[in-house]
């Protein structure tokens, strides 16, 4: 029997404890965000706001948005839907599923947090989801999304990212295991087309190869007495 004199049982246990702490999220990277503060500012003017979060449930985010905005938050984990469709081998049915995914009535949601969900969707599913989000977003409502701008490494294990709001300027990225990896990145033109008629009001290219985009839904064009379209001011 071989004994490793340099490694005691207490060493092993302390190593295990360190691993557990790392899993709990001590070492996840934090990256700056520029669009989040603008997203929050765009929602601050409203009362009785409804926010839709498409990401996995993150307690910190629920608290943050609840306290920052005092709004009602609805969490619909679309990542879980994608994961389920992949593991059940029903990826073909994902687009039709997403087309009827949301029970909200037209124009009832003030803000939508998409995170990077569109990076994991094929074209048909992305179109179906975008159509639904445009439908439920209130005129002058805001949509925050992240898009990957580089091809995902082929060796990268499939999985998703939990974006945890550290503060208005920073997001912590916590990856977790999933059945699907990122798909081909969308070009800026594709992104714009996908969300039409939403307007891109802010767009930031981050150093970590993500594009942050803030969309606004234009207010229906109604002509004022002076002959100017009323919706222009809000879209600025």
């Amino acid at each position: 029997m071989v004994y490793h004199s340099s490694l005691s049982l207490s060493d092993l246990f302390s190593r295990k404890r360190k691993d557990e702490t790392a899993d709990a999220g001590t070492d996840w990277p934090v990256y700056p965000t520029k669009a989040l503060a603008k997203f929050l500012a765009s929602l601050n003017a409203r009362s009785q706001r409804l926010l839709l979060d498409l990401g996995p449930v993150v307690g910190t985010n629920v608290t943050f948005f609840g306290e920052e905005l005092g709004c009602k938050i609805h969490v619909e984990d679309v990542f879980k839907d994608i994961d389920r469709h992949v593991t059940e081998g029903k990826l073909d049915a994902l687009s039709s599923f997403l087309a009827g995914r949301f029970a909200q009535e037209d124009g009832t949601v003030d803000g939508i947090l998409c995170w990077d969900v569109f990076d994991y969707l094929d074209k048909a599913s992305a179109q179906a989801l975008a159509r639904e989000l445009v439908r439920i977003l209130r005129p002058d409502g805001a949509l925050f999304a992240l898009f990957n701008i580089v091809e995902a490494a082929t060796k990268a294990p499939p999985g998703f990212t939990r974006y945890v709001v550290a503060d208005r300027q920073n997001l912590q990225y916590r990856s977790y295991r999933g059945a699907r990896g990122k798909q081909r990145p969308l070009s800026p033109r594709d992104i714009q087309r996908l969300f039409e008629p939403l307007r891109i009001t802010e767009q930031f290219l981050l150093k970590n190869n993500l594009r942050e985009v803030l969309f606004r839904k234009p207010i229906a064009e109604t002509t004022t007495a002076e002959g100017e379209p009323a919706g222009h001011r809000a879209a600025d």
């Binding site: 999220g25 934090v30 449930v57 938050i73």
Partner: protein, 183 residues
Amino acid sequence: MWKRDEAVKPTGPASPASPATPATPAQQAQAASAPAQPESRRHQMMERDVVNIGKSVVIKGELNGSEDLTVEGHVEGKIELRDHVLTIGPNGKIKAQVFAKAVIVLGEVNGNVTATEKVDIRDGGSVDGDIISPRVAIAEGAHFRGSVDMQRKGGQPSQSKAENAQVQRSSASNVGSQPVAAH
């Protein structure tokens, strides 16, 4: 030398009525707040203040109470503990509308939860329904599907919103060393 018996002994004081049952969070909190009291007295207090609905109990209908309650069994209908803490234990399954001062979920809840102080969904806990509470904590590993309404009366955020936000930011800046559970 390592003694097996010592390793499996529960660390907290066990209730004499149910020695194998681990202490509930409410009991733990109570025990923590009164460390100097004699053990026997603490046991008596716990028995008096926390009521347990055991694993095998099924209740259908309305449940009202004026003391803290831990549910390990099944409840269908409505639970109302306006001024007290409701704990859904790991074995508890609730299919009901819940109204309480604070709700701690370690089991399953299917229905809307309204708390005047806090809703805390712990790791392994599950809520399918809408939550209305000024404070909500959802741990990583918890399941939640529904909406969270943290609005105060009149649709305004709390008076100390700026203060809260500052605290949130300062605590969130340490998020790297904290578990995801929001407290």
